[in-house]
């Protein structure tokens, strides 16, 4: 028993844009409440994946329970529930917000509100959370708390007169935050006597104990040894281990309404205990689950192929293992004439895709070739039957289909005023439809477009960042399918169509994309001992072509004075590049070529 009265529990999360100091602030809170001693303190305690630390972002959320004696002399339990900071994971964000009664809105006082922050604040407002504005990094010379305060008031309509000024780095304002959480965040409803309902807001796979489920008890209470049912999956488990996160796991016997904790129950994969599912007792089940459960749907697909065909079984094993821990990851076997055996994988978004690829290469030591990302098209055949196509090479021929529809998103960007023009041009080039523009505060503008998702997943984010010198931020929401004049563009290398390079593009852009692709492939594919034609075609019509001239020689004339180290390095580098190539007929194609569409120089 943890024995804390519901009235003295506060559950809150931190909403912040990447780099605005969320992790540093979380670290401070843990330190100042004595939850983690200075000695134990690793930088940014909550981000515990290597990858997260490197990128300075949070992917998987974590939680921490802190004991805090407030100025009123009472001891409170503060549960900080961390949220992932990226648009790909907005469903997970919404679930973790639902586990809270309040949120700290942390905004960098030298920068201002960003699109992603805004999206998460709206989610928090929808869940009726008490929002406490915090202006961070006030110690920086460029800090403008007044401007940012006005900006928050204007954009979000949130009273910022009481905004807390902090510097998490310098430890300024931490006490004030803790007091505000106690005073302003409402305690959970005391529903200890109702049937158990607990919300899963995260889970991860542990190879010894099975899935570790992070949850918030909304109603009732739960004990070790209880037999529980997950209401969406219908599966039942006996709780072997129950505990709190402080932030390391500490076992307890019972948790009740308002508390946050974890349990282990020999669950085999995170897909069996999905985020958003409701836990109840088998012996005394709740009448209905908590609202809003949804299964995360992959939005972006790509082919993953081992560079070395022998690694296919290892790739399968690695994906199986990753899925234990990533319910959103989807994959099925795919065979490509260029790449051999691999998997077609579905991801929540581009970041999710990158993370999975990187983990496969880093943690499982696989060498992978990735095809360019694709979205899911809805194709209607001549009989009116709809099907979903996530792989351009499987698109039915034009005479076997009635129409192709593609997913659209509503794209919201926040940018300094001077970049509005270039941003609109970018969106226009990406087949965006202008919807709205608002001047938020002096020099800050929000621009809203509706755009095919396919245009967003091909390096839109990087382009937006570079066109606005990193100042703009963006966020998008799916808004359904729309019919367009789409065609399949085939790329042929030395006369062989390469399935892994096929793409679905708008007819109006096909010529430009085809030309840019052939030019890029010419640049990326090394010269061979014969001339290699590169062609782009729609059906049987060639719309662009290039030739890679034949290699006439490749010889190193001299080894200087017996110094062979440089030549050896050169050969090793070339050999490494060669290993990562795939043969298309008799042509060696480097792995970058399969992502060429993301590297087209001009805006196409």
């Amino acid at each position: 028993m943890t024995n804390v009265p519901v009235s003295r529990i506060r559950n809150f999360s931190i909403i912040a844009h990447i780099d605005h100091g969320k992790s540093t602030l979380a670290d401070r809170l843990l330190q100042d409440t004595g939850t983690v001693s200075n000695r134990e303190m690793k930088e940014q305690f909550l981000d515990n994946m290597e990858l997260e630390r490197e990128r300075g972002i949070t992917i998987k959320l974590q939680a921490a329970r802190m004991n805090y004696t407030a100025l009123d002399g009472q001891e409170y339990v503060l549960n900080l529930i961390d949220t992932p900071g990226h648009v790909d994971f907005s469903y997970e964000v919404s679930r973790s917000l639902l586990a809270c009664e309040g949120a700290l809105l942390v905004v960098d006082a030298s920068q201002g509100v960003e699109a992603q922050t805004l999206a998460n604040v709206y989610l928090a407002l929808e869940s009726n959370l008490e929002i406490i504005p915090v202006l961070n990094k006030i110690d920086l010379p460029g800090a403008e708390p007044e401007r940012v305060r006005a900006e928050i008031e204007e954009i979000i309509g949130l009273d910022c007169s009481g905004a807390i000024l902090t510097s998490a780095k310098q430890g300024i304002g931490i006490q004030e935050i803790l007091e505000s959480v106690v005073l302003l965040v409402p305690p959970p409803r005391d529903t200890i006597d109702e049937p158990l309902r607990a919300l899963i807001f995260d889970s991860y796979y542990d190879s010894y104990r099975g899935v570790i489920v992070y949850f918030r008890v909304m109603d009732g209470s739960v004990k070790r040894g209880d037999k529980v049912r997950l209401m969406a999956s219908g599966k039942e488990y006996v709780i072997d281990e129950l505990g709190i996160l402080s932030p390391t796991q500490i076992e307890v016997d019972e948790l009740h309404a308002g508390e946050v904790g974890y349990f282990a129950a020999s669950i085999k994969a995170v897909g069996d205990a999905r985020v958003g599912d409701t836990i109840t007792l088998v012996s005394k089940p709740a009448a209905k689950p908590l609202d809003g459960y949804a299964e995360a749907k992959p939005m972006v697909f790509c082919g993953l192929f081992p560079t070395d065909a022998d690694q296919y079984p290892e790739l399968r094993e690695a994906l199986d293992k990753l899925r234990l821990n990533d319910a959103a990851l989807q994959y099925e076997p795919e065979t490509s004439s260029a790449m051999g055996f691999g998997f077609r994988c579905g991801f929540l978004g581009l970041l999710h895709m990158e993370i999975v690829q990187e983990r496969l290469e880093r943690e499982y030591d696989l060498d992978l070739i990735t095809t360019a990302p694709s979205v899911v098209y809805r194709v209607t055949d001549n009989h009116g039957t709809q099907s979903y196509i996530d792989n351009p090479s499987t698109l039915p021929d034009p005479n076997h289909r009635q129409k192709i529809e593609e997913p659209y998103v509503k794209l919201e960007m926040i940018t300094p005023e001077e970049y509005v023009g270039t941003l609109m041009e970018l969106c226009q080039n990406r087949r965006g439809e202008f919807k709205d523009m608002k001047y938020l505060t002096k020099g800050r503008t929000t621009v809203i477009y509706e755009m095919p998702l396919a245009e967003v997943v091909t390096d839109f984010f990087d382009r937006m960042k570079s066109n606005t010198r990193g100042y703009a931020s963006m966020e998008y929401q799916p808004i359904g399918y729309r019919e367009n004049n789409l065609v399949k563009l085939d790329l042929m290398i030395n006369g062989d169509p390469v399935d892994a390079l096929a793409m679905i593009v708008h007819r109006d852009k096909a010529y430009n994309v085809g030309r840019a692709m052939t030019e890029k492939l010419k640049e990326l594919i090394p010269r061979h001992q014969f001339k290699v034609p590169i062609q782009a075609a729609i059906g049987s019509k060639i719309i662009a072509s290039e030739n890679i001239p034949a290699l006439r020689k490749d010889v190193l004339a001299k080894c200087y004075g017996g110094d062979i180290s440089r030549k050896k390095k050169l050969l090793q580098k070339q050999a490494k590049g060669k290993k990562r190539m795939k043969s298309v007929g008799t042509v060696d194609v480097p792995q970058e070529a399969f992502m060429a569409v993301l590297k087209l120089n001009k805006d196409t």
Binding site: R552, K553, G562, I564, L571, Q574
Partner: protein, 416 residues
């Protein structure tokens, strides 16, 4: 000097003759100017080098002496010595003699040793040349590069065609019995006709040995800033490949055997020192930027003067990176396949094992099919049985040699 107890352990009990170094490379990093294609460690002393630069050279030789003194002695007399640069002919006879005396005192020099020296037109006179010969030099290699004044100027050479002929006159007057001449193909504005003319001019001078280097545009040289390989005014790859084939035809026709990717020699005049490198045998090296290969440690000395001097002051440690067996196998092939004779399958089998040889032959099947790689039987020994055993793996001339990097990349991408 005798082998000390601490040295003894590094010599294996079964030490074979080929394990012990008998070759020494000496780097003389001084030049009158830096040629536009050159990225060697050199120290520019100006067209008329004066007392101050002499002081620099003297200091360098003192440091070199320290390095030689510090070197472990494997007690085999040197069979080849090579003074490379830079421009070794900027040394006085006394300086050159001093270095040779040090080497002789330390290691001994075999009676029939090959002692080579690179010289540049316009940097020496007859007396100087005869002095070098008296000191022991018996082979010179002259940096000609081209027989067209405009081409020489474009690559920043400090001499003219007139200087070349004057230098060759001195070589002939001085009674040099073995000499070589360097040419470069692929220079800016060079045409096939220019190249043929250079080859014919070279042959007319009757050197014993000719090196033809296809220009490499090295990063960080003036050429790298000015030119893009394959783009004008550099000749196209197609043209330089043609220059390579032309050299092979013309020089073979004139009695020069193509014995290495870039080297041609009259019978009996192959450069014995350079063969040490290509046969992956050990060698000493002394001097700034010089690379040695001892006890399977390859080591390149610091390429900057002060760092090199510091390295000497710190005790001349070259046991830094031990070359693993798998890498030695690759090095043996990378070097041995430069030779038109190729590598002996028997000797790589005995050194690296039959499995490696088998997987090597397997991965080269495609290159054998397209005629770049050949396996030939070479009459090496006298007995019939030995002859049967001497199978050599080699690149075909000229096509296999022209694409040697493609073949080597194939080899390097295998796991051995």
């Amino acid at each position: 000097m005798t082998l000390t107890a601490s040295d003894a352990h590094i010599i294996p009990h079964d030490s074979s003759a080929t394990w012990l170094p008998t070759a020494a490379y000496i780097h003389i990093p001084f030049c009158r100017r830096r040629c536009y294609y050159c990225d060697f460690p050199v120290f520019v002393v100006g067209d008329r080098h004066n007392g101050a630069s002499s002081g620099n050279i003297q200091l360098y030789i003192e440091r070199l002496a320290t390095e030689i003194a510090n070197q472990i002695n494997y007690h085999r007399p040197l069979e080849t010595i090579f003074f490379g640069g830079g421009t070794p002919s900027l040394l006085t006879v006394a300086q050159l003699g001093q270095i040779l005396d040090l080497l002789a005192a330390k290691f001994g020099i075999a009676n029939d040793a090959e002692i080579s020296m690179e010289i540049d037109p316009g940097t020496f006179d007859l007396a100087q040349l005869q002095g070098y010969l008296q000191a022991g030099v018996n082979r010179v290699s002259i940096g000609v590069q081209a027989f067209q004044d405009n081409l020489l100027q474009l690559c920043g050479r400090s001499h003219t065609v007139g200087d070349i002929y004057a230098a060759v006159d001195l070589i002939q007057q001085g009674g040099v019995t073995n000499w070589s001449l360097d040419l470069i193909s692929g220079l800016p504005q060079q045409s096939i006709e220019n190249w043929v003319a250079s080859l014919e001019s070279a042959i007319a001078l009757k050197p014993h040995h000719i090196s033809c280097y296809d220009l490499i545009v090295e990063a960080q040289t003036p050429f790298a800033k000015q030119y893009q390989p394959g783009d004008k005014p550099l000749p196209s790859d197609e043209t330089t490949a043609q220059m390579y084939r032309t050299a092979q035809q013309i020089l073979s026709g004139a009695g020069y055997a193509h014995y290495e990717i870039s080297n041609y020699a009259k019978p009996g005049s192959q450069c014995r020192h350079n063969l040490t490198y290509w046969q992956n045998r050990p060698y000493y090296a002394f001097g700034m930027g010089a690379a040695s290969n001892l006890e399977n440690y390859r080591f390149t000395r610091p390429r900057k003067t002060q760092e090199y001097y510091q390295w000497i002051a710190d005790g001349c440690n070259w046991r830094v990176d031990l070359t693993p067996a798998a890498d030695r196998f690759l090095e043996t092939l990378m070097l041995g396949l430069r030779l038109s004779r190729g590598v002996s399958l028997k000797s790589i089998e005995s050194e690296f094992g039959i499995d490696r040889v088998n997987s090597l032959l397997k991965c080269l099947q495609r290159d054998r099919d397209r005629g770049w790689v050949e396996i030939v039987i070479v009459n090496d020994g006298n007995s019939r049985s030995e002859r049967l055993c001497q199978r050599y793996l080699r690149l075909s001339d000229p096509e296999g040699l022209l694409f040697s990097n493609v073949v080597l990349t194939e080899i390097f991408s295998q796991e051995f």
